[in-house]
Amino acid sequence: MATPLLQPTDRGLWCADGDFFIDPWRPVDRAVITHGHSDHARPGHGAYLTTDAALPVIRRRLGALQADTLPYGRTVTMGGVTVSFHPAGHVPGSAQVRVERGGEVWVVTGDYKTTPDRLSEPWEPVACNTLVTECTFGLPVFAWEDEAAIAAQINGWWAQAADEGRVAMLGVYALGKAQRVMTLLDPDIGPILTHGAVEEMTAILRAQGYALPATTRVTPDLPKAALARALVLAPPSALGSAWARRFGAVTDGYASGWMRLRGVRRRRAADRGFVLSDHADWPGLNAAVRATGATRVLATHGYTAAFSRWLAEQGYETGVVATAWEGEALDRAPDPSDAVTE
């Protein structure tokens, strides 16, 4: 039997023929990177291959590195294996990786979201024989409302806070979620302020040409008047911290797919939880599997056991691939890059 096109190792998903790893979690010679979140783009690899759009963030986070880029859809050949990136709809620049050898196609989704937003390159189904899919939200309780409905909830909350003289502070991941929220905000309500970690990512994406509204970074010398009617976007770890105390009367919230669960929402002890995720929900995961035409589906991080059993009952060949990828973290230590202060 031929070597599988991709196989799990303790360093990551490995393509033996092409001698590269996809989103490896330990140092390797050649890494193919789906996007810039820290559980996917890690330091210490010999060479990086990623999308044009994802590279600036990765460089900013990992420092100097040897990197090549590909635009979406263009192929490159490594050891007889054809590799290409395809939009994943997760964060700006994020990609699925298509790997082909002699007509056999595997697709590794990376993190992905099937419904479009106003920022990320929209997800495209890529036909394949084997789909390696994340399933962070691989249970039927996870089904997202329309983005417009969530936008109305966030703006309603913000406007009410502004009217009551309170600052609205929203906990969001610095890369992706923060900027997506910006595209949903109604700038007529008040100014958008940013924590340093959020502003840093926003500036990079803005320079790349992504359309983002004006934001003001929170600095120690920011005049009090600038806080009037403001909404502050900050990493989740900043909420309730010493950093957050400067804002006086605050109402806080989180935007995350996990906010779908009331128990998690209550545990965070925030005033509001907005169900906004950059991952596919249960209907999205199922639609993605169908759209690719895959006959074999391997589940990685998330509710892998449930999702693969569900697919097996639909007649798919299934398996679970253990990885160190985390998806949308629920109760993990904060992303180190969120620790950037002012």
Partner: protein, 532 residues
């Protein structure tokens, strides 16, 4: 239901007590009368009884959502709440239904008498018209599990704000055996007939644990000291020739303790006494351990043998009503004197005695008495200011409980299970073991409280990586983590493999410094049996 769902959302959306009270007060100002009555009922633990079993409800929901039962079970395990799981997996609800809370509760109550097919049809019909968040509340009403994150105390405060009535009066009005299906807003809240409910108890006066040294309370001569017995706190209400026994949780226990009927022969009508219900050891003339009382709690009627083995007796703490007069505002010393006179009139065989006062000249003497609590079958002491009124609810200042320090043991975590509610997706419910004589680990206790959310999150990550076996939702884990457990008592228990059962076990510390081999041994626990 929309209006009640709005209230529920407002309460859910803030952690601020004053905002919760404001939201409730708004609701109490202008919601329809019968909805207000039911809201008071729900917030004071008077939920409609379960009309559908959780199992059937889950089956119908899974069928409606088109998913297999195992996937429903997995979803429930992740969500940690049955009613919410159902609301989340069903196809989105249309909303727009305008029937009120009490109307829906009538529907729920009517379903109680329907057959299985009728129940299923009724539930499906409701799911088809309700919006998602209303469905969750409806499901909770069906399973009898609707809880709102507001204490009865805050609810009473909101009611006071909305009506302009005094909080303490409202607290008393809302006590007792009223039926929300028959009560009216006017009759219950605005202008109740004081004679309407002869069984109505008074709100219990409660106390906080004394954490500071007793010297902080000033002159010991200002204080009365009592034993804090380890039984069931109760209130005996004798009025109009009838009698009722209430638990602190406002449950009627009258039928479970028939021996107290005789009190009506000796005490005049218009008498209300606060005391501790205990299983009595007649030979020793002393309380039996709490465990002896346990079999009497769960059942509606009491077999003769149980009456003989665990005869109930009340040790009286306080007199709240005498000659039909509410005397709660009088100083404790006066009430105590009246109580002593009343109880002194009882014959020795009566099922009530006086809870004796502890007398000592100084705090050191009182502390020494506290150290003897366990030997006497008490949990510690109660300190009450001689001048204090009988308060409503838990207050600081005049009454303190001063319990003995708990027992502790270092134990190894062997099983873990995910929690419910706000602890969904976190492993919080653990089974603990100690070493037995053969060098094996014997499970002996479960505990699920006492750690911080951050600690639970860290342990959850560890459990995921160190699972050795799965039994449904329960994971067996590598026996490596050691925790210090505290507990209030320990008993022989032939039903447990370890042969012991603990009272109120909880985690007090994560012993990161201790390897599993240094956890305690079963014989250490057995040695405590004599004391516990």
């Amino acid at each position: 239901m929309k209006r009640f769902a709005d209230l529920y959302a407002r309460l859910d959306e803030t952690t601020s007590t004053s905002r919760k009270v404001a939201a409730l007060a708004d609701y109490f100002r202008d919601a329809p009368d019968q909805d207000r009555v039911w809201t008071i009922a729900l917030l004071s633990g008077r939920r409609p009884k379960r009309t559908v079993t959780a199992t059937r409800l889950a089956e119908w929901a899974a069928a409606r959502a088109g998913i297999p039962m195992w996937l429903f079970t997995d979803s429930y395990a992740a969500t940690g709440d049955l009613a919410e799981t159902i609301a989340l997996i069903l196809p989105p609800g249309p909303g727009g239904d305008d029937r009120g809370l009490s109307d829906w509760i009538d529907t729920v109550r009517a379903l109680a008498v329907a057959d299985d097919a009728g129940k299923q049809a009724g539930v499906q019909a409701a799911w088809d018209v309700l919006a998602d968040r209303e469905r969750m509340l409806f499901n909770k009403l069906l399973t009898g599990g609707l809880r709102v994150g507001v204490s009865q105390k805050l609810m009473t405060r909101a009611l006071a704000q909305a009506t302009g009535l005094a909080e303490a009066d409202l607290a008393h009005r809302l006590m007792g055996d009223w039926d929300p299906a028959r009560a009216t807003w006017a009759g219950l809240v605005l202008a109740p007939d004081p004679g309407a409910d002869l069984s109505r108890p008074y709100p219990f006066a409660l106390a906080y644990q004394l954490d500071d040294p007793p010297e902080s309370l000033g002159d010991p001569a200002d204080w009365a000291t009592e034993w804090k017995w380890d039984g069931i706190r109760g209130q005996i209400v004798l009025r109009g020739g009838d009698w009722h026994l209430w638990s602190r949780g406002e449950e009627v226990m009258t039928d479970r303790f028939p021996e107290f009927a005789r009190l009506a022969d000796y005490l005049p009508p218009g008498t209300v006494i606060d005391g501790e219900v205990l299983a009595w050891d007649r030979a020793a003339d002393a309380p039996q351990p709490f465990a002896a009382l346990q079999p009497r709690i769960g059942r509606k009627s009491v077999p003769k043998k149980l009456l003989a083995d665990a005869p109930a007796r009340m040790l009286a703490y306080d007199l709240l009503e005498w000659g039909g007069q509410d005397i709660r505002a009088r100083p404790f010393a006066d009430r105590r004197a009246a109580l002593e006179a009343a109880v002194a009139a009882l014959p020795p065989a009566a099922p009530m005695g006086l809870s004796p006062l502890v007398t000592a000249p100084d705090w050191a003497g009182i502390a020494a008495a506290r150290d003897q609590s366990r030997d006497r079958g008490a949990e510690g002491l109660m300190l009450k200011r001689h001048a204090s009124p009988y308060g409503v609810g838990r207050k600081r200042g005049d009454w303190w409980k001063w319990k003995v320090d708990p027992f502790t043991v270092d134990a190894v975590m062997v099983y873990a299970q995910a929690g419910h509610g706000r602890r969904a997706t976190l492993y919080t419910d653990f089974t603990f073991a100690v070493w037995d004589d053969s060098g094996g680990l014997v499970p002996f206790a479960k505990a699920y409280s006492g750690l911080t959310d951050a600690e639970f999150a860290e342990i959850t990550a560890w459990v995921r990586k160190n699972t050795t076996d799965r039994f449904g939702p329960v994971r067996a884990v590598r026996p490596e983590m050691v925790f210090e457990l505290a507990f209030e008592g320990i008993q022989h228990s032939p039903r447990h493999k370890s042969g012991i059962a603990l009272r109120f076990p909880r985690m007090v510390r994560w012993r990161r410094d201790k390897p599993a081999a240094e956890a305690d041994r079963l014989e250490t626990l057995r040695a405590l049996l004599a004391k516990g």
